[in-house]
């Protein structure tokens, strides 16, 4: 039992990784791998977004700006420096993320002067400013026509009609790598003092500040980190699509998507945004495929979302965790012992905290037992 718990997680993660690596080799149909590439790009962006929005509780809805900046950064660099294509643009993705991150410093600093609802509005506003710049700085961005990317990979015999199952592979594995990095960074931050500060900000910012948490720099750095992931996702997206255009790369729906994905999977959790992205992206593509009538899939998409919000308001991951914990508590303590109050008291050992809502009776029992 104990060993299973100790090794269960790493083994499970390795198994998932194995599935992720095998997926495009087993389901090599480009229809699937294309969806998978988009799903993973969104998964990495959502996971990065969650580091800021999920941990601090500040809902930023202007990350499409950084997605677009990353995309344009790659297009512009490739054009200026005559990057031939192949793997080279992929190596430039981290740089494009950093460029997006640099933009995020002043924009984030401005937005973070406000809180909660005002903050959301300001981030949306900064997005539209950046989008406007993409349309109008024609010398740099070529206006609404956009820019072309270099031809990616020759071995797929080109984009059109060639062997697209091979064509998609480098994108798939790059997107997978980005997702893994985002997950690793999320994990690392969640286990650091810095991350604990972010979570404290989410719960009570003024109190956290009063206790010495550097709220200002913590929020801004988390904002920048999340923008870097959005920028990298944007750069990969643009290379995959083959061109950049203001209306596609600075798309307000981007933020809606990653926010929905994160909420669906469980905001503030590590796996939630990734799970949400995978589920929603596949669901969306499937709905588009089977309900071709214009707009119908959007309605179904909305209904699906409402159902999830109503049934699992905190997202899939926390709800599952709670169910699992409840099941475990029931299994261990057993129905016969349940009416006795004492097992509830030693909550630390008998059942995980999520299962025991320490309200009412349990709390009162604790009162009396504690002071001895």
């Amino acid at each position: 039992m104990i060993t299973a718990r100790k090794y269960g997680k790493p083994v499970g993660l390795l198994a998932l990784l194995g599935v992720a690596i095998a997926f495009p080799l087993v389901f090599s149909d480009p229809t699937y791998t294309t969806i998978a590439v988009f799903a993973l790009i969104f998964a990495s962006a959502a996971s990065g977004w969650n580091i800021f929005a999920g941990y601090t509780g500040y809902i930023a809805l202007g990350h499409a700006a950084y997605f677009g900046i990353g995309a344009y950064a790659l297009a512009i660099i490739c054009q200026r420096y005559n990057i031939p294509g192949g793997w080279e643009p992929i190596y430039l993705i981290p740089l494009c993320g950093l460029i997006a991150g640099v933009f995020a410093i002043p924009l984030g600093a401005i937005a973070l002067r406000t809180r909660r609802h005002t903050f959301i509005v300001v981030t949306i506003a900064t997005f539209f400013i950046v989008q406007l710049m993409a349309f109008n700085l024609r010398g740099l961005t070529n206006g609404s026509t956009g820019l072309d990317m270099p031809i990616p990979f020759q071995w797929g015999a080109g984009y059109q009609g060639g062997n697209q199952s091979i064509y998609n592979l480098p994108f798939y594995f790059t997107a997978l790598a980005l997702t893994i990095v985002a997950l690793a960074v999320s994990w690392f931050i969640r286990h650091s003092k810095y991350g604990l500060g972010l979570l404290a900000i989410r719960d009570d910012e003024d109190r956290a500040r009063g206790l010495g948490v550097r709220t200002g720099s913590s929020k801004l750095s988390a904002f920048v980190i999340s923008a870097i992931f959005a920028g990298m996702a944007g750069a990969l997206f643009a290379y995959f699509i083959g061109s950049v255009q203001p209306q596609f790369d600075f798309d307000p729906l981007f933020d809606l998507s990653i926010a929905l994905m994160t909420f669906l999977g469980g905001i503030g959790t590590r796996a939630g945004p990734i799970l949400g992205a995978l589920v929603l992206e596949f669901a969306q593509q499937w709905l588009t495929l089977y309900f071709t009538q214009d707009g119908l899939y959007l309605i179904l998409y909305g209904v699906l979302f409402l159902v999830v919000i109503l049934l699992l308001p905190r997202g899939v991951i926390p709800s599952l965790q709670e169910l699992w914990a409840k099941g475990r508590a029931r299994g261990r303590i057993g129905p016969l012992v349940l009416p006795v109050k004492t097992p509830v008291m030693s909550a630390g050992t008998t059942s995980p905290p999520t299962a025991t809502r320490m309200t009412g009776q349990a709390g009162e029992t604790a009162h009396e037992e504690v002071p001895r």
């Binding site: 003092k193 979570l199 604790a366 009162h367």
Partner: protein, 243 residues
């Protein structure tokens, strides 16, 4: 020796004078009680000392320095810890995580390092044991009972090793057994040299615990002295019976 002093502080909210030319001082190493009818300005005084509110006029001195209108984090870093009348803990963090929030480390290594395996964790567990909620270390703080939350807030102030602790109604809503427990803990810490300023409506608690008692009424100090003296002061009786 005076460690904490408020001089002629005034603070108005709209037309309400929460503090009105209020001066109090706290002796180092003592337990000082602060009492007064509802709305007499006790919490506002705490807020002014700890930087959560700015004064309109007056000064706050601590340990030879002026800390008037300093920010809450500066005041906390200087060694003044406080609890809130309605506790302010981090409800969605676990009890243990709450402890680690207030033990801040500002070096980059300290920030990026994990917290769960350090000696800080050891200290956090000791303090939870000390206040009596160690069994709840993994519980979500928001799920604690009201009294348990008060103990948690007290414990996470202690981890920062403050020199002065301001407690705003630590016994409010707490059952008698736990109040006794809390009382003995405060005395123990006081013996180690920590100064206390305690707001409390529970007179028995104040009378048993405090070396001196300061009484506020309508935003200003109206009496000061030993618990026994204050109890018999006519101005105090009038403040409580009047209105």
């Amino acid at each position: 020796m005076t460690i904490l002093e408020v001089r002629n502080a005034s603070k108005a909210f709209g037309g309400i004078h929460a503090l009105n030319d209020c001066s109090i001082s706290v002796e180092a190493g003592k337990i000082t009680g602060l009492i007064g009818p509802n709305g007499s300005g006790k919490t506002t005084l705490f807020n002014v000392i700890t930087g959560y509110e700015k004064v309109d006029a007056g000064e706050v001195h601590y340990d030879g320095r002026t800390i008037t209108n300093a920010t809450p984090n500066k005041v906390f870093a200087m060694g003044i810890g406080r609890t809130f009348q309605l506790t302010r803990i981090f409800p969605r963090l676990s009890v243990l995580e709450n402890m680690h929030v207030s033990a801040q480390r500002h070096s980059l290594r300290g920030l990026l390092g994990g917290w769960s395996r350090s000696n800080e964790r050891q200290r956090a567990l000791e303090l939870l044991e000390f206040v009596g909620i160690a069994a709840l270390k993994d519980a979500q703080a928001g799920n604690l009972s009201y009294g348990q939350k008060k103990l948690l807030e007290f414990a996470f102030i202690l981890i920062a090793e403050p020199k002065v602790i301001l407690l705003d109604e630590p016994a409010g809503g707490v059952n008698p057994t736990m109040i006794n427990h809390l009382q003995s803990r405060i005395q123990e810490l006081n013996k180690q040299g920590i100064t206390f300023l305690i707001v409390e409506h529970n007179m028995e608690f104040i009378m048993q615990l405090c070396d001196t008692v300061t009484v506020m009424h309508r935003g200003t100090k109206i009496a000061e002295g030993t618990p026994a003296n204050v109890r018999q002061n006519p101005a105090v009786l009038e403040a409580y019976l009047g209105d």
